[in-house]
């Protein structure tokens, strides 16, 4: 990934000696931030793993009440958005402004579609009385564990959705800058780093989907 040093297209901040140093620092910074995000979600994944190990049959049974169709569609949507994001980075790398803007917009549309489907799922769960709290209902014998499962479901997918919303904000900012011609083959690092963040959020979902939606389907 060679970047030509065109001194006039990159503003080098005062603390850095060169555009290359600035770029390397920003990239390392984003990777470290993603490491913190792994640890952050990790606490929830650990909690999920412990309780699933303690109540395997309950979790499998409750998982069947999630809408696997919507979950699968969402997985395809998000993977698709990672594809369009990668195309956006490609566009930036090759100074193809229109391609960059188009692909960023597509990524945002797919991301918004994901969120729309997700919130529709949440609404469905609300109607079915699967939201933990005083109105929670689930048939015996797994009422207790079901409430735990759905607590984890809402916490994990909710935290993920929050990260997606932040990601959409990031992409919106990027789109505006791209439209104004900020990025080109000599300066596209912000697009690449935002791509890293977006792929990371996608990766979290790729773990969430089987852990929440696909438990025990083979046991049918």
């Amino acid at each position: 990934m060679a970047q030509s040093l065109a001194p006039h297209s990159t503003q080098v901040a005062h603390q850095f000696d060169s555009a290359e140093q600035q770029r390397d620092a920003a990239t390392l910074g984003m990777w470290i931030f993603l490491a913190t995000e792994i640890m952050f979600f990790g606490g929830l994944f650990t909690t999920y793993s412990v309780y699933r190990a303690l109540h395997p049959l309950a979790f499998a049974e409750v998982s069947r009440h999630l809408n696997i169709t919507l979950g699968t569609i969402n997985t395809a949507v998000l993977i698709g958005s990672s594809f369009t994001m990668a195309l956006a980075v490609y566009g930036a790398q090759h100074s193809r402004r229109k391609m960059l803007v188009l692909c960023l917009v597509l990524t945002m549309l797919l991301g918004s579609l994901f969120l729309g489907i997700k919130f529709y799922e949440y609404y469905q769960k609300f109607v079915e009385h699967f939201v933990p709290g005083s109105s929670f209902q689930f048939q015996a014998p797994y009422t207790r564990e079901a409430e735990m499962f759905f607590s984890l479901y809402f916490l994990m997918t909710g935290l993920h959705a929050l990260h997606m919303i932040v990601g959409l904000g990031l992409l919106m900012t990027l789109t505006i800058l791209a439209w104004r011609g900020r990025f080109s083959a000599s300066y596209y690092n912000p697009v690449e780093l935002s791509g890293l963040y977006w792929h990371f959020v996608d990766l979290i979902w790729i773990f969430l989907y089987p852990l929440l939606y696909l438990i025990g389907h083979h046991l049918h």
């Binding site: 140093q21 620092a25 913190t36 606490g43 309780y51 933990p132 207790r144 409430e147 607590s151």
Partner: protein, 551 residues
């Protein structure tokens, strides 16, 4: 014979380059941000200290005194929360780390200066939230927030407290991220990893812990908040949850957190000891690698806080073994500092007095940690004053003394002035005496069975408790003295030269105080670290030039 160099204050430096509250509150200069942190952290230190004073006054009397038992619970909780999250964890990294790391590596600033300022603002936002919690009636769960009390039964400001710590956690994470990127990307030409000052190595290791550990605390506290506010039962047995899972998640961060508190302090000792021994540090690579080893091993021992919580005996054995293992790199440091002293030329300036205090008191704290890490002994001393004494020996006898030593050592660089040496040595001695009088009796109390966090105690323990309170009063004086004379010195202290001690290291190659961009020209490093003979030669040359100029 030391070369004598006349101190000359620089005309323009980072403190006087511009004035006004906007130039401070919107600064991106890491040195100014460090001072902003110094103010916040000092305020929290004295607030946490105030709670400690109230605790110790209450404990003069075995029975009812001063406050109700419910209020007493709030006192030790707020003391813990403020001292751990708002003083010990940020102190050295945010103040000395921020000030020194760019200087020590020959850079103009950290990698992300605006993120650095954002860290300070987040810290203060967290501080406002915790002050709200204090004023609104406090928290009484203990700084460890164990459910089910914290999630289901406490009637105090738990949600506000966990939110405050959550926000403070982000402040820490961003600081750690900034430091790692800075140290990787911005070292001056010639500054290879094994030429870095050991303070930088210790800050790097600390930053790894910030980055990997703090997010786990964040999510754990989020879950407690969610239990409280949304009534979801992640740790609640009524929903198939397990309160011990909280303990695992909490201590997964909070054990490495204690290494966040002590590693930077050890880094300071590694800077002070060679300077005041006028000698190359012994075992540089051992000390550097031991910092990394402590950071790594520190993540593997959290279960030693759960020996009596229903954890399996086999898990207990593994955690106990690993806890012994993590003591080894710490001991390596103590041996190397001691070896540095051998056949050296010692001076006993205040920073060195704090360093000696650190070495002795940290050794006691660390060794008593091994007592507590032994499974059988743990059953006897868990939740007693023995544990309290153990961690205060490390946190106060170790980390705080290192912090004070570092503040004094780098004070000339930070302020351009020298502090009054006589008062500083007196204060260091008062701190040492006061500290031991406060906390040594607590080892005895704990071993004899006095539980921690208890409002009342058997009357036969009163004598030792009174001794402890007496010690705390002396310790308090020892802490107030530097506050007074350091502030005094900013105006009336003698002007300091660039390299007053003198010492090696890039921070001493620029003026005291430094200019905003730290160095006139980016330095090029060719020396090995702690090369005191070379330093003496350079200073002799400068002194000669100065005397020729004035002749």
């Amino acid at each position: 014979m030391e070369a004598v160099i006349t101190p000359v204050a620089p005309r323009v430096h980072y403190l006087n380059v511009n004035y006004g509250w906007r130039s401070w509150l919107f600064t991106i200069d890491h040195k100014r941000i460090a001072l902003l942190y110094l103010v916040s952290i000092t305020l929290f230190f004295f607030l946490g200290g105030l709670f400690a004073v109230l605790i110790r006054i209450k404990l003069l009397t075995p029975g009812t005194a001063l406050v109700t038992p419910e209020t007493y619970n709030k006192l030790f909780t707020m003391h813990g929360i403020i001292m751990v999250f708002f003083f010990l964890i940020p102190s050295i990294p945010a103040v000395l780390g921020n000030f020194l790391i760019p200087l020590m590596i020959g850079a103009r600033d950290v990698a992300f200066p605006r993120l650095n300022l954002a860290s300070w603002y987040l810290f203060n936002l967290a501080g406002l939230i915790i002050l709200y919690a204090v004023v609104n009636g406090g928290v009484d769960t203990g700084w460890t927030f164990y459910p089910p009390y914290s999630s289901n039964f406490a009637n105090t400001n738990v949600a506000a407290a966990v939110l405050a710590i959550f926000v403070a956690g982000f402040s820490s994470i961003l600081t750690g991220l900034n430091f790692v990127v800075t140290i990787h990307s911005m070292r001056a030409p010639g500054l290879t990893w094994f030429r870095l000052p050991l303070f930088v190595w210790s800050m790097y290791a600390t930053s790894i812990i910030f980055i990997l550990g703090t997010p786990v605390l964040a999510i754990t506290l989020l879950l407690v908040g969610a239990e409280r506010l949304l009534h979801i039962g992640v740790f609640d047995p009524a929903y198939g949850g397990d309160p011990v899972l909280f303990q695992h998640l909490f201590w997964f961060y909070s054990h490495p957190a204690v290494y966040i508190m002590v590693l930077p302090s050890m880094g300071i000792i590694s800077e002070i000891v060679p300077t005041f021994s006028r000698k190359q540090i012994y075992g540089y690579k051992f000390i550097a690698f031991s910092s990394v080893a402590i950071a790594v091993l520190g993540f593997l021992v959290w279960g030693h806080h759960l020996f009596v919580s229903g954890q399996s005996v086999y898990a207990g054995m593994v955690f106990s073994f690993l806890s012994y293992a993590v003591a080894i790199p710490s001991a390596v440091k103590v041996f190397n500092w001691t070896a540095t002293l051998h056949k050296s030329s010692l001076s006993f300036d205040a920073p060195m007095l704090y360093a000696f205090g650190f070495i002795g008191l940290f050794t006691i704290g660390g060794l008593t940690g091994l007592f507590v890490a032994a499974l059988g002994v743990n059953v006897h001393v868990h939740d007693t004053y023995f544990v309290i004494a153990h961690f205060h020996y490390i946190m106060v006898g170790g980390a705080v003394m290192g912090y004070l030593g570092g503040i004094h050592y780098w004070w000339p660089k930070i302020s351009g002035r020298r502090y009054p040496e006589g008062w500083a040595r007196l204060a260091a001695l008062i701190v040492f005496v006061g500290f031991n009088l406060t906390f040594f009796p607590q080892f005895l109390l704990g071993y004899m069975g006095m539980p921690r966090r208890y409002y009342a105690y058997p009357p036969e323990f009163q004598t030792l408790n009174v001794m402890s309170t007496a010690g705390a009063s002396i310790l308090g004086i020892g802490y107030v003295l530097p506050l007074i004379y350091l502030i005094w010195s900013m105006r009336y202290g003698p002007v300091a030269e660039s390299n007053p001690w003198p010492s090696t290291g890039l921070e001493w190659q620029t003026t005291s105080p430094p200019p905003t961009n730290n160095f006139e020209k980016t330095p090029v490093v060719t020396n090995e670290p702690y090369d005191f003979p070379e330093l003496a030669r350079q200073r002799a040359t400068i002194a000669l030039e100065q005397s020729e100029q004035s002749a």
